[in-house]
């Protein structure tokens, strides 16, 4: 996602949507490169509290009348 820099809770994000460390540099993608404190913080305030949802839209299909199948292939 590309957008303007923004904040979520105590976290700042750059224009690529990557959260920034306290020194203003983006977090690396690899969690093994995060400190334990950073992991705990991100786990709680960015990755935490995940909820899932869905919404079904309407079907765009007109119902059809169903005819009999005829062995000789003629139309019903």
């Amino acid at each position: 996602m590309s957008s303007q820099p923004y904040e979520m809770g105590g976290l700042k994000f750059n224009d690529q949507g990557v959260p920034l460390r306290g020194d203003g540099t983006p977090f690396p993608d690899d969690p093994s490169q995060w400190s334990e404190a950073e992991r705990d913080y991100l786990a709680q305030y960015y990755f935490g509290g995940i909820q899932l949802g869905h919404q079904a839209g309407h079907a765009d299909a007109a119902l059809v009348a169903v005819n009999e199948i005829h062995e000789d292939g003629r139309e019903a």
Partner: protein, 161 residues
């Protein structure tokens, strides 16, 4: 010999539409088909085009949508064999819009059940199949799975389950 009252499946029965948020190669070509037993889908006629859409999302603690997916099911229905019945010669699944924020990943799969004949009349078979759309949303913490089942019928009915 064909038995019209028995619906059988053809094509692909399950595939991955998105892997790590990106469309897969199979997603562009995979079709499920529900046809009369012993009949090739190319023998069916008069199919009409239908669509059904569904949106999946995941929010975090702050209510921010970290994953957003709009999927469209494209299906051909109302297809006849020897002038009758209502079969499903093609069902495809498209990820029409995908947004995944940093640190999350999204896999999206389509799984089809065994098709059935939901008609009460033997000479007027109506194919029906349950499609399960499965979204797997992962972070370094864990993977969450959301499954949305829907039944698609040859007469054009779409029934969320």
């Amino acid at each position: 010999m064909a038995d019209w009252g028995v619906i059988e499946k053809a094509g692909e029965f399950a595939w991955t539409v998105l892997k790590d948020g990106k469309p897969t190669a199979e997603a562009h070509s995979a079709h499920f088909r529900a046809v009369p037993q012993g009949v090739d889908f190319t023998q069916l006629e008069n199919a009409q085009n239908g669509t059904w859409s569904v949106e999946f999302w995941s929010t975090n603690l702050y209510g921010v949508r970290v994953v957003d997916l709009k999927a469209t099911v494209h299906f051909e229905y109302g297809a006849t064999y020897k002038g009758g019945g209502a079969f499903l010669p093609s069902i495809m699944v498209e990820a029409a819009h995908v947004s995944v924020l940093w640190g999350f990943s999204l896999d999206f799969e389509a799984h089809f059940g065994d098709p059935t004949n939901v008609s009460q009349e033997h000479n007027k078979p109506i194919a029906a199949v349950q499609l399960n759309l499965v979204a797997k949303i992962s972070s370094f913490l864990k993977t969450e799975v959301l499954t949305v089942p829907v039944e698609i019928r040859g007469d054009g009915q779409v029934i969320p389950l």
